[in-house]
């Protein structure tokens, strides 16, 4: 499964980091990092992260 965050609308709420810490994280500069290619076993967590994103910035393909 492919995960994409549209950084032109992400406002760094960090909800995705809470919902799926295996996939989303903040680096030392506080910038959002994520795994672009994720094992399907984590689908439920990634979907929860996409739902929890107030800016609707996360796309799953």
């Amino acid at each position: 499964m492919k995960v994409h965050v549209d950084m032109s609308i992400c406002l760094l709420h960090g909800q995705c980091v809470i919902a799926a810490p295996e996939v989303f994280s903040f680096d030392d500069e506080g910038q959002l990092q994520w795994l672009a290619d994720v094992d399907d076993g984590l689908r439920a967590d990634v979907e929860a992260a996409a739902d929890a994103c107030p800016e609707q910035a996360i796309r799953i393909d």
């Binding site: 709420h13 960090g14 909800q15 809470i18 903040f26 506080g30 929890a52 107030p54 609707q56 796309r59």
Partner: protein
Amino acid sequence: MTAAPRITIVGASLAGLRTAEAVLAALPEARVTMVGAERYLPYNRPPLSKDAAEALAAPGADAAAVFERLVLKSRLATGAVDMRLGVAAEAMEKDALRLSDGTVLRHDWLVAATGLRPRRLALRGAEGRRFVLRTFDEAVRLGHAMRPGARMVVAGGGFIGCEIAATARKLGLHVTIVEPMEQPMIGALGPRVAAAMAAMHRAQGVTILAGRSVAAVSDSDSAVILDDGRALEADLMVEALGSHPNVEWLEGSGADLSNGVLCDNRLIAQGADRLLAVGDVARFPNPLFGPAPRRVEHWCVPGQTARRAAETIAACETGRDPEPGFAPMPSFWSDQHGTRLQSFGAPALAEAAEVISGDLTQVGTEPVIVEYHRGGRPVAVLGLGAPPAALAPHRARLERALSPETVE
């Protein structure tokens, strides 16, 4: 399992949409109907007091283009749900529901996702200058009136009132918040943080009249009259005084509708065992904060309760008991004058607030983190302009501290 269950979801906004998705993920054979009073596809409300409000106030604003950006992304396949938009649920008829277009829908499960509507001032007159803000149509109407230089009174300084005040300042309006309590947002944030936020609003040019309420509006001139007799000149007034749960359509269902729909921890309504409630309209006990059922008006709640309601329905349909102990962590954010507030937990339940990083006199210029306590234990963490990476460890600590039954 018997025949595919018929599930009617009333309210086609965030909570209704997420419930439809979760129900179909758990029970792909379910027949789901969504009934929504607004004629729009489910859309996102928080921007209506923030960037969408600004966009709608721009001269020659393209409302359709603004709406496009608000539509909620959905995982529903086209046609997976029977969507009835622009139709309201009117009344219950035993195990069926009568709609405003005369249709009667039968169901095995009914999910209330009808949210809230703004509370209005109990005053007559000056309707053309009075506004509320919950729906896209209301935001469009308000946007037209938010002209630079206009004088705006915001009656009620909750989050929505404070956000629209900040947006209006940015647009060049003259803004006065009339707040009946000692400070705007005091119930949600407590006195110390509310005072710091009030100072930030004043520094940004918002006038705050606290401890005052609107007593009358004049039809003949542009006056708004306060309870102390003072008259304010106002080209427009936004009524942001809290809200009423939309539950009238459930009368006679057997459910307790005294403040939203009273549910148990499975989200099944007490007194109506085929009815569940999700989102802003649901009043349910959260073991993180003790046994008292509460309604929570935060954006995160629709998603959390939708998944829970779907689990409950799926468990009952397959003859299982739903897992006990639904304990979602509440969180909310708010944007005011370019400063983001981000909260985890329940600051409104706290007895005391402690600054754990930064300085409350610097809100708006420097990051501040506040921890809220009740009975000596943390119940919430709030960041004011704090980067999410700095808040994350505090949230994790809060989660550990809030193990069920530690509060109250």
